[in-house]
Symmetry: C2
Subunit: 170 residues, 2 copies
């Protein structure tokens, strides 16, 4: 039987359009992640900030913002919400009194473990379209490699900005 319209000779004009495919997958992922993180301030982005705060030294707010692809003003509001929810804290940076250091609270770290599981489930749902586990792994690897490369090229967001000590930027 031909349950799959595409496989059954139904060729999509835009199927070879990388932009269309990226858009479809991105939107699908965004929907799944937003649903999974509906109770987290800032949704998926709130999770990313929380994860960065808990698992790395997210230098300044600006570096974190650049890394996540948002404006620094957006980061302010995002952190406001996360701080109000008691998930992160803004601590003074002893080295630079203009800057703040973002740290996850105990409650934030507890929640993070739960969120990680939800994320895994959401990702599995999206990647389920790739039948074989090998394909899923290959897609993840290629996408991660591509993202790292793109991120390294982009002057706005430095791939190493969240892992200080390894590389220096010009």
């Amino acid at each position: 039987m031909n349950a799959d319209p595409v496989a059954s000779g139904c060729t999509d004009v835009l199927r070879d359009d990388l932009g269309w495919a990226l858009g479809v997958v991105f939107r699908s992922y965004a929907r799944a992640a937003s649903a999974a993180f509906s109770d987290v301030p800032g949704g998926p982005r709130g999770y990313q900030v929380l994860a960065a705060a808990a698992r790395s030294q997210p230098g300044s707010q600006q570096e974190l913002a650049g890394h996540l692809g948002v404006d620094r003003t957006v980061m302010t509001y995002l952190l406001d919400d996360l701080e109000r929810a008691g998930l992160i804290e803004r601590r003074p940076d002893p080295a630079d009194r203009r800057a703040r250091r973002i740290a996850a609270t105990g409650r934030g770290q507890d929640l993070l473990g739960d969120l990680d599981e939800r994320l895994r489930a959401a990702e599995a749902g999206v990647l389920g379209g790739l039948g074989a586990e090998g394909d899923r792994a290959a897609f993840r690897e290629l996408l991660a490699r591509l993202a790292s490369h793109v991120n390294a090229l982009d002057p706005v967001s430095d791939a190493c900005s969240l892992a200080p000590g390894a590389t220096a930027s010009p």
Copy 2:
């Protein structure tokens, strides 16, 4: 400064986050495509509409909107701009006088050939992060397969709604 928790090499905390990687690649692509299509009304989306109008029978505006992941009201404005630029036409549907058929004008078709080349260049720039041609092809194939599957599952946009037309298969 504190020690690097991730340590050894510049490992990115979010590198394994599918959402982060998708976001980085998607934004990178969106920037490249927007720059390439800066003179096209609606930008990248205008191109997609034009391509669908020229190379398939994009049933109704609503079907086309669903396929592109936008609201039907957005499609109205988009088509307004494209029509004003003389790239597409709204023709009455003989079978249903409520509906309109979207068709590319001669000028639209001429422009489309040029846009295709620009798109190829933009895509090559983004995928350049994957060094080997085999990897690029593999990524495209996996992404297209995933998008088709996601699209088929989503009741809003039917993968076959644009199909029965002359399709250019590279």
